[in-house]
């Protein structure tokens, strides 16, 4: 529901510049945005509770110094306020529950499990890959990373380095997948466009035709 099959979006502000974006995210509507906001809220809640669990486990160990109660509420922008919050949180009923949970789980289970959960929480829902074609400059492939921790990776190929662009097919598991390839001059390996999504052939054909039409100047007529 939150993701759809890879589909193509084209932005063409001028005939010499096109951006093809293949993405698994559905077109943004209001319910969808609300839902996405909800998932983010859920992620943050789960992440915070995992962190709280880890912190209660740390408080139970010998390495920690016990928190001291504050008589008055300290300044908002001070280190003391953080400790004040931490004390209040751990002594509340929720904190007691987490402390109880922390006593139940051995650290050898807790640590890998919580790190796995934190990693899973940082995964992106959608994959977006794009190809930007600029006549006279070159093409640029970009691919969003799988986690929120890093940005997208881009690769710019100047036109003079592009030897050819074509659609190829390959076996992958038990299916035949088509992929768009850029052959770069002087490089041993070719560059695969949309490497993570590998969209369907119709999309690739559209993109291929668009790139061929947009990238190179029309051939000069004789005379």
């Amino acid at each position: 529901m939150l993701t759809v099959a890879p589909h193509l979006r084209t932005r063409r502000p001028s005939p010499t510049t096109v951006e093809y974006t293949v993405s698994t995210s559905p077109p943004p509507t209001l319910p969808l945005r609300l839902l996405l906001g909800l998932t983010i809220l859920l992620r943050v809640t789960i992440g915070l509770s995992v962190l709280l669990l880890l912190y209660s486990k740390f408080l139970l160990s010998d390495y920690s110094t016990p928190l001291e109660p504050y008589s008055s509420r300290p300044q908002l922008q001070s280190n003391a306020f953080i400790w004040y919050l931490a004390y209040n949180l751990t002594t509340s009923r929720l904190g007691a529950l987490f402390t109880h949970l922390a006593t139940l789980t051995p650290p050898i289970v807790l640590l890998p499990a919580s790190f796995t959960i934190l990693y899973l929480l940082s995964l992106r829902l959608h994959t977006t890959e794009s190809l930007l074609v600029l006549r006279g400059l070159g093409i640029q492939t970009s691919s969003s990373s799988s986690t929120f921790l890093s940005g997208s990776t881009t690769r710019f190929i100047p036109t003079e380095k592009i030897q050819d662009i074509f659609v190829n097919e390959a076996f992958r598991g038990f299916e035949v997948r088509y992929y768009l390839v850029v052959v770069v001059e002087g490089e041993e390996s070719v560059v695969v466009v949309f490497p993570r999504l590998l969209p369907r052939r119709q999309i690739l054909e559209t993109v291929w035709r668009g790139v061929r039409g947009c990238l190179f100047e029309p051939e000069e007529k004789a005379g």
């Binding site: 600029l134 006279g136 074509f166």
Partner: protein, 707 residues
């Protein structure tokens, strides 16, 4: 060549002032419709700007010759590219009308000849902060060495290398085939060829902009001569006090500084001569293919690296000083700068850690000596003795051959006895050795680690020799068993043809061979257990040494400076460029008296910072090399058949640490010339030595570049 598709490409700096007032757009014209905007000059006349550009008025008082910029940008002159915010004024066919508004982020541009427009906006990299952009990633290693490792012929690595070569050949052939796959034979257009020049133009743009804005007052309104005189008068009046100070400073620089400088150079040279002598000792080989001292000992290697660095620094520094005589936009020496400070910082860091470590070692040297001798006698002697005793006495229920086991065990035990006597003799000296290691660590934390690594190899010499001996015995037995097995089958190995032939043996030959085969086969387990024990302990020691070597590699090569730069100002470590297509703003109807522009796309050009993976590229390479050496099936086969597994050649392991050093160090005379040739060019004195990080603090150019 005019473009026939009517595409106009405009490079537009983001920080060009967005105002309503009319101005003249000045910049480079790479080809007809391919322009690069450097600045918008306000309150001047287009004709006078054109004249000033031709005569060179706008480039007055440049700190360095403007021809250098011309050469970098690949153009012979700057041009007036169009007008800003002045609709209705007649312009040439190729020039453009631009409209900027304070509330609009992007300009609106129209040109008579353009059918479509690409506006590529970019942030000017600040050359004063050594920011720049480049098409390829900055290289942190010095790339004058070939990546190929050197192996002795016939060794395990050489064969692997050969296989790798074969692989490379195959891919090369594939790539050759790929070259046939060109459907369109596309001739590169001028716009495509201009990319490299444009990168330089972007890098130079900030300084040029400053220069143009500084000289804008010289254009037009007032006559030049009167202005320059009056300016000079004002300047001399305000800097009267400075003159006195400069005079005093001049005396110091003329009389005291040269002496100090000459003394310093001579000191450096003496140091260089001493370093050369030591390096010669370290690199001396009895025969060309013999191992030098630095190949055997980690300490020698460490000393060699340090000496090489000390030899290289003056050259690097002189190269960096030359940067001052050129525009700051010239980016050739920026990687050199990063490399120089990287190695300097690592050495200082090493020394700081070393002082902390050394003071700890010196304070506790007796305790440490006691602990070390305890561990030594426990693991390398007592544990070994117990294991051998266990092996002699049917280990884990395995019924070994008693006599052979007793013979081998007694042999090893006897050697261990002698060795333990030697260790006992060493015990009183050990605190002094530890003290020596402690003092050596004031030369950097890498020294005690290297010394410790060497000490480890010396103190476990007996295990090494046991491993050699048992591997030899096992290998002999194994090969004899193989050939006797062929005899048992009635075949033999033809050495000349390298194949198995059938062979008619006589009865007595067969009988004797079979008896020997049986005998040796039943003796095999006894030899195997001894071999396995020593091979395992040898592997443990090798991995310990590999860990120490990795620690050394971290101390000597960790890209600390690059990491810091990456966090502080990632623009200084360019790893390529990327473009970002922006949504077009709707202009139509915004400006009534402006002609509707052709379809325009707005693109932002950004510099991609170097990836962390590229920063640690060398470490990945090192890991790959170690894995290839120790975890390859060939090595496991060697281990299984009792052939000697050679430790990885130091040269391969340490190529990481030499990546910052030139392949061939410069001679003493080269250094002398480099250091003394600089003297005539010097004018402003000692302070020049201090301001190396790209900031000019001279009195005349009092520039304060903001954040």
């Amino acid at each position: 060549m005019p473009e026939h598709d009517g595409l106009m490409r405009i490079f537009w700096p983001v920080d060009v002032p967005r105002s309503n007032s009319p101005g003249i757009i000045v910049g480079w014209r790479n080809s007809g419709l391919d322009v690069f905007v450097v600045a918008i000059l306000e309150d001047v006349d287009a004709r006078s700007v054109e004249n000033a550009l031709k005569v060179g008025t706008l480039f007055r008082n440049a700190s360095h010759p403007i021809e250098r910029i011309y050469a970098l940008c690949g153009q012979s002159a700057m041009h007036v590219l169009g007008l800003a915010n002045s609709p209705g004024v007649e312009i040439e066919n190729l020039q453009m009308h631009a409209t900027t508004r304070p509330n609009l982020k992007t300009p609106q541009i129209s040109c008579a000849r353009a059918a479509t427009i690409q506006i590529i906006m970019f942030d000017r990299p600040l050359p004063t902060r050594m920011q720049y952009i480049s098409l390829s990633s900055i290289s942190l290693a010095l790339g004058d060495k070939s990546e190929m490792a050197i192996h002795e012929p016939g060794s395990v690595d050489a064969e692997e290398e050969r296989e790798e070569m074969k692989d490379r050949q195959r891919t090369k052939k594939l790539v050759e085939k790929l070259k046939f796959h060109t459907v369109t034979n596309h001739r590169p257009s001028q716009k495509e060829l201009a990319l490299r020049r444009i990168v330089n133009q972007i890098n130079c743009s900030w300084e040029l902009h400053k220069l143009l804005q500084k000289n804008i007052s010289l254009v037009g309104r007032r006559s030049r001569r009167s202005l320059s005189v009056s300016e000079r008068v004002v300047e001399s009046a305000t800097t009267m006090r400075d003159f006195v100070l400069v005079a005093i400073w001049q005396i110091i620089t003329v009389y005291i500084y040269p002496i100090l400088r000459r003394g310093f150079v001579i000191g450096l040279l003496c140091h260089r001569v001493a370093a050369e002598a030591l390096l010669l000792v370290l690199e001396w080989r009895a025969k060309p293919d013999y191992a030098a001292l630095k190949d055997i000992s980690a300490t020698a290697q460490q000393v060699e690296i340090r000496l090489q660095q000390f030899c290289f620094w003056p050259h690097q520094y002189v190269t960096l000083r030359k940067r001052k005589d050129d525009w700051q936009s010239v980016t050739d020496s920026h990687p050199e700068y990063i490399r120089f400070y990287q190695s300097l910082w690592l050495v200082l860091n090493d020394i700081i850690i070393g002082i902390a470590l050394g003071s700890y070692i010196i304070d506790h040297h007796e305790f440490l000596a006691e602990r070390i001798s305890e561990i030594l006698s426990l693991y390398s002697i007592a544990a070994l003795q117990r294991t051998i005793d266990w092996l002699m006495d049917w280990p884990a229920g395995l019924k070994l051959n008693n006599e052979l086991a007793a013979f081998l065990g007694d042999l090893f035990l006897w050697v261990i006895d002698h060795w333990s006597n030697c260790i006992e003799a060493l015990r009183p000296v050990l605190p002094h050795i530890i003290l020596f290691i402690g003092f050596s660590s004031f030369a950097g934390a890498s020294m005690p680690i290297a010394l410790f690594s060497d000490m480890l190899s010396i103190l476990t010499l007996h295990i090494y020799s046991f491993y050699l001996a048992s591997a030899r015995i096992f290998n002999w037995q194994y090969t004899i068993l193989l050939s006797l097995f062929q005899l048992f089958r009635g075949k033999k190995h033809n050495v000349l043809r390298k194949r198995i032939d059938s062979c008619d043996y006589d009865l007595d030959q067969l009988l004797l061979g079979t008896i020997l085969f049986t005998l040796l086969f039943f003796l095999l387990p006894t030899v195997v257990v001894f071999y396995l024990t020593f091979a395992c302990s040898r592997m443990a020691i090798i991995s310990l040494k590999a860990a120490l070597d990795t620690l050394l590699a971290c101390l000597n090569h960790f890209p600390l400076f690059a990491l810091m730069l990456r966090i502080k100002d990632s623009q200084r470590l360019p790893g390529g460029i990327c473009f970002e297509l922006r949504d077009t703003q709707q202009f139509s109807g915004l400006f009534p008296n402006v002609p509707t522009p052709p379809p325009t796309s707005y693109i932002f050009l950004k510099s991609v910072p170097l990836t962390f993976r590229a920063m640690f590229h060398q470490y990945f390479q090192l890991g790959h090399r170690i894995r290839k050496h120790y975890l390859s099936p060939r090595v496991l086969l060697c281990l299984a058949t009792g052939k000697f597994v050679p430790p990885i050649h130091r040269k391969n392991l340490y190529s990481l640490q030499y990546s910052m050093l030139p392949a061939r160090r410069a001679g003493i005379m080269d250094m002398w010339h480099a250091l003394t040739a600089q003297t005539p060019a010097k004018k402003s004195g000692l302070y020049d030595n201090l301001k190396v990080n790209g900031k000019r603090l001279n009195g005349s150019g009092r520039r304060h570049y903001g954040h």
